[in-house]
């Protein structure tokens, strides 16, 4: 009798203690995170979906049926699939090789290489597209030189151009993911394989590569999603190949449709379904190939000599050169005069001085990017921390939700946000706020994941040690947890900054009269043939995106890992 009473009292005490601990900042966070996703992700997507069913056609599913029955639409879906899969494979191949070469061999200038890779991540793909036209188009400088030299080199405009540009655009994702996967492979695995009689090559394919599958597939997923949903690149270099994202975008802005967005919404839903499908496939694949190992002794760099070394260096720098060639082109042409929309070899600063939209666009870009980066980094750190450390019932829900934006293409984001927040009851169409919101939600998963996976690796013992030494959990967070994750926060912020600055697909749908960003103006300059202005603005965009990278390098020293 007595004992049961005491047990009751204890149990009650326990519950009370949990309740008391339970209602604080941290227990509110999971809830807030779910609300955040519900409002900024689920709501607009659902609204887009309902809109897609609310067509003026009598048959609500008509648009979907049309998509699969009408060759004009269906072909673009097939085209997009073919192109994206090719691009994904090419980026995978080149990205893995590049990453392995740089990680493994004595290639000089590794920091510069990593910086170059991040840089290519920064520039909007259609800048690359039009640079490629300048270089290898029918009238391209380099193509003409090659032709003059007797090499019959076809114009790059069209499918080859799209493949090149989209592959280069995807390269950094694969590169970065592979690099980080490589860092968890232990040297002893390679030694073990060689010791068992395998050659180095066989060892790479049979023992090392299989362990990278999770990381590589994540990178390739990102390539696929961007390639499948980019309409800026086909718009500039596409030529006669209809691709699905262009269809989505055009259906949104179609003159013939009037104010009926059901087609745009339906197409977006299809795009979303394809990307989510890719995401689910990749997740289950990565899960099957997750080995939960971490390297005690990471793979040691290998000294190559002679011809092998030269070949590897040539391959690496060849790829890097191709990747930065568009950037160089942009910078050079920004100082060239255009006449009749063609560059001449006359120096001018007109590109920088004649465009009235340059300063406002720069201001907008800096403002939105900064706000989005700061909020995204903060929220990402907090939510990532909550997922990793505060075991809550909402944890798996948040985890799942934070996955979705990976698969939501920029166009779809734009359309969903425009439908969700553009008009009543929010009236945010064209405002800076709606842009920042979209940027925030697109990048949030990246921030969350980088923090939660780092914390998972670090383990809890340092934090427990702090609590054990009498420092309450709230202070422990600031004094132990935060300092330990600062490097990850910083490099995550850097990546957010770089990718938000170049955002185009969602921005194109959401921007308004006073909120045009640099990428929008570059695109409009390219479309109107104001190439010197486009190049000048592109150059400024490149410089601006580089600033934080440079600052970080100064602050954190020349640790090349900061760029990953």
């Amino acid at each position: 009798m007595m004992t049961t009473f005491n047990q009751h009292k204890q149990r009650l005490g326990g519950v009370l203690a949990q309740y008391r601990q339970g209602f604080n900042f941290w227990s509110l966070m999971p809830l807030l995170a779910v609300v955040l996703f519900a409002v900024f992700l689920i709501y607009p997507l659902v609204r887009m979906f309902t809109e897609s069913l609310a067509g003026t056609d009598s048959d609500v599913l008509g648009v979907y049926v049309e998509l699969f029955t009408k060759a004009y639409y269906f072909e673009s879906l097939i085209n997009s699939f073919l192109i994206s899969i090719t691009v994904t494979l090419m980026a995978g191949l080149v990205g893995v090789a590049l990453s392995y070469f740089v990680y493994r061999f004595n290639v000089p200038g590794k920091i510069a290489i990593r910086a170059a890779v991040v840089l290519t991540l920064v520039s909007p793909p259609f800048i690359g597209a039009y640079s490629w036209i300048l270089l290898f188009g029918a009238n391209g400088i380099l193509r003409k030189a090659l032709v003059a030299g007797g090499l019959d080199f076809p114009s790059i405009v069209g499918v080859p151009g799209m493949l090149v540009v989209l592959t280069l655009q995807g390269l950094p994702f694969v590169f970065l993911m592979t690099s980080s996967a490589l860092s968890s492979v232990d040297q002893s695995v390679e030694d073990g394989s060689i010791n068992l009689g395998r050659t180095r090559t066989s060892t790479f394919f049979r023992a090392i590569l299989p362990q990278l599958r999770g990381g590589i597939s994540t990178g390739m997923l990102l390539v696929f999603v961007t390639a499948f949903s980019d309409f800026g690149t086909p718009a500039v270099i596409g030529k006669n190949v209809r691709v699905f994202p262009t269809l989505v975008y055009n259906s949104y802005i179609n003159e013939a449709q009037g104010a009926d967005f059901s087609q745009a919404a339906s197409f977006s839903v299809v795009l979303l379904v394809v990307c989510i499908g890719a995401l689910l496939l990749q997740r289950s694949y990565a899960k099957r190939h997750a080995y939960g190992v971490s390297a005690v002794t990471p793979l040691a760099p290998m000294e190559l000599h002679g011809i092998k070394r030269i070949l590897v260096i040539a391959a690496v720098y060849g790829v890097i050169l191709i990747a930065v060639l568009p950037l160089i082109t942009v910078i050079v042409t920004s100082f060239l005069k255009t006449e009749f929309q063609r560059f001449t070899w006359n120096f001018t600063l007109d590109g920088y001085t004649t465009d009235a939209t340059l300063l406002p666009a720069l201001g907008n870009t800096l403002l939105f990017t900064t706000i989005a980066t700061v909020t995204c980094t903060l929220a990402g750190a907090i939510i990532g921390y909550v997922i990793a450390r505060r075991k809550t019932r909402l944890g798996s829900t948040i985890d799942l939700l934070s996955m979705v934006p990976y698969a939501v293409a920029g166009v779809v984001f734009g359309i969903a946000f425009s439908m969700g927040f553009g008009s009543s009851p929010f009236f945010l169409a064209g405002t800076g706020l709606i842009l920042v919101m979209a940027y925030f939600m697109r990048r949030l998963p990246y921030s969350i994941r980088s923090i939660s996976s780092l914390l998972g690796q670090l383990g809890t013992s340092a934090e427990e040690a702090s609590v054990n030494l009498g420092v309450p959990p709230s202070q422990t967070f600031w004094r132990i947890t935060v300092p330990m994750i600062v490097p990850a926060i910083v490099s995550g912020a850097l990546l957010t900054w770089a990718t938000v600055i170049r955002e185009f697909n969602a921005t194109a749908i959401l921007y308004g009269s006073s909120t045009a960003t640099m990428t929008i103006q570059v695109f409009s300059n390219v479309s109107y043939g104001r190439y010197e202005n486009a190049s000048a603005m592109g150059t400024i965009l490149i410089v601006v995106s580089l600033i934080p990278v440079v600052i970080l390098m100064k602050v954190f020293g020349k640790d090349d890992k900061i760029l990953v």
């Binding site: 114009s155 030529k239 179609n254 003159e255 104010a259 929309q341 063609r342 064209g430 009269s513």
Partner: protein, 302 residues
């Protein structure tokens, strides 16, 4: 209230030269004009999406958006003086005809490489131009639509079919012009003004089809419930003034005036010498069906 200097007016514009108008307008009236460069389709879509909270005062469109959504726009009757506008261009009470742009083509003589340049839509159906005629997507671009309508008028579906075999679809209205400019295409179809942006008279030359030219009328619309209706009115009246129209024609080769009281420079072929036609009535009657047929033909031939 009165239009006030210091106000900010917004325009969704399809005209690449609009920033220069804006500069001039501000220096003359003190009213700032913010230009958002969009295509006709984008302009329509935005105005529709923003109907509860309009973000622009004026919109340019080539696709008669007020026909289907009159509630989005404001009739100009009473606030804009269109007395100097040539009657031919006036279509309804919403669209303000401000700029004329005949849809023609340009060609790159280097790419022609000795071949005779085509002089009519009919000739564009000739097999020798397979893959060398660049045109924007008629389902997206007003000028491409008008060009297609002219092709149809010149030779009906048989000609459209031959034409479809030759075209390369560019991804924007200015794409075809850029394609001839950088040598990607031999022939590019577009508005006269855009052709003259790249036509230097040597390599790139403007060509006027002899079997019917449809004129793109740059229609300006006043947006319903916009924030600065008075300034919008002031702007439109300024646009249609003979001063502005004279300056426009002098400054931008190929931009033609809708008005009768402005001076036309003689560097261009006079409008009256061109074989102007209307978009055929059966096309106008069901635009969607016409475009459907076009996309079907296009997908079937390549």
């Amino acid at each position: 209230g009165e239009p006030a200097s210091g106000e900010t007016l917004v325009i969704y514009s399809t005209e690449s030269t609009m920033p220069e108008f804006a500069e001039r307008f501000q220096s003359e009236t003190g009213i700032e004009l913010q230009v958002v460069s969009v295509s006709s389709g984008q302009s329509d879509a935005r105005v529709a999406a923003e109907k509860d909270n309009p973000q622009t005062d004026v919109a340019i469109s080539g696709s008669s958006p007020a026909d289907s959504n009159p509630e989005l726009y404001r009739a100009y009757e009473g606030s804009i003086d269109v007395s100097n506008v040539d009657e031919r261009w006036i279509k309804g009470e919403y669209a303000i005809p401000t700029i004329l742009n005949p849809v023609i083509f340009g060609y790159n003589t280097e790419v022609l490489d000795g071949r005779a340049a085509p002089s009519s839509w009919e000739e564009l159906g000739d097999e020798q131009w397979r893959g060398e005629v660049s045109i924007a997507d008629p389902t997206q671009s007003g000028s491409a639509f008008n060009a297609l309508a002219a092709v149809y008028a010149a030779g009906g579906w048989p000609l459209v079919e031959k034409f479809a075999q030759n075209v390369v679809i560019a991804q924007s209205s200015l794409g075809p012009i850029q394609a001839i400019s950088n040598g990607e295409a031999a022939i590019g179809i577009g508005a006269e003004a855009s052709v003259y942006q790249v036509a230097d008279g040597e390599d790139i030359v403007a060509g006027y089809p002899t079997d019917g030219i449809v004129v793109n009328v740059g229609m300006f619309y006043l947006v319903e419930n916009s924030s600065n209706p008075e300034s919008a009115d002031a702007f439109m009246n300024w646009m249609l003034s003979s001063d502005t129209q004279t300056w426009m024609q002098g400054e931008h080769k190929g931009m033609r005036s809708t008005t009768t009281d402005s001076e036309t420079p003689d560097t261009l072929q006079d409008l009256s010498t061109l074989d102007l036609i209307e978009v055929p009535a059966d096309v106008l009657a069901d635009k969607a069906a016409f475009l459907d047929e076009w996309t079907t033909i296009l997908t079937s031939v390549n």
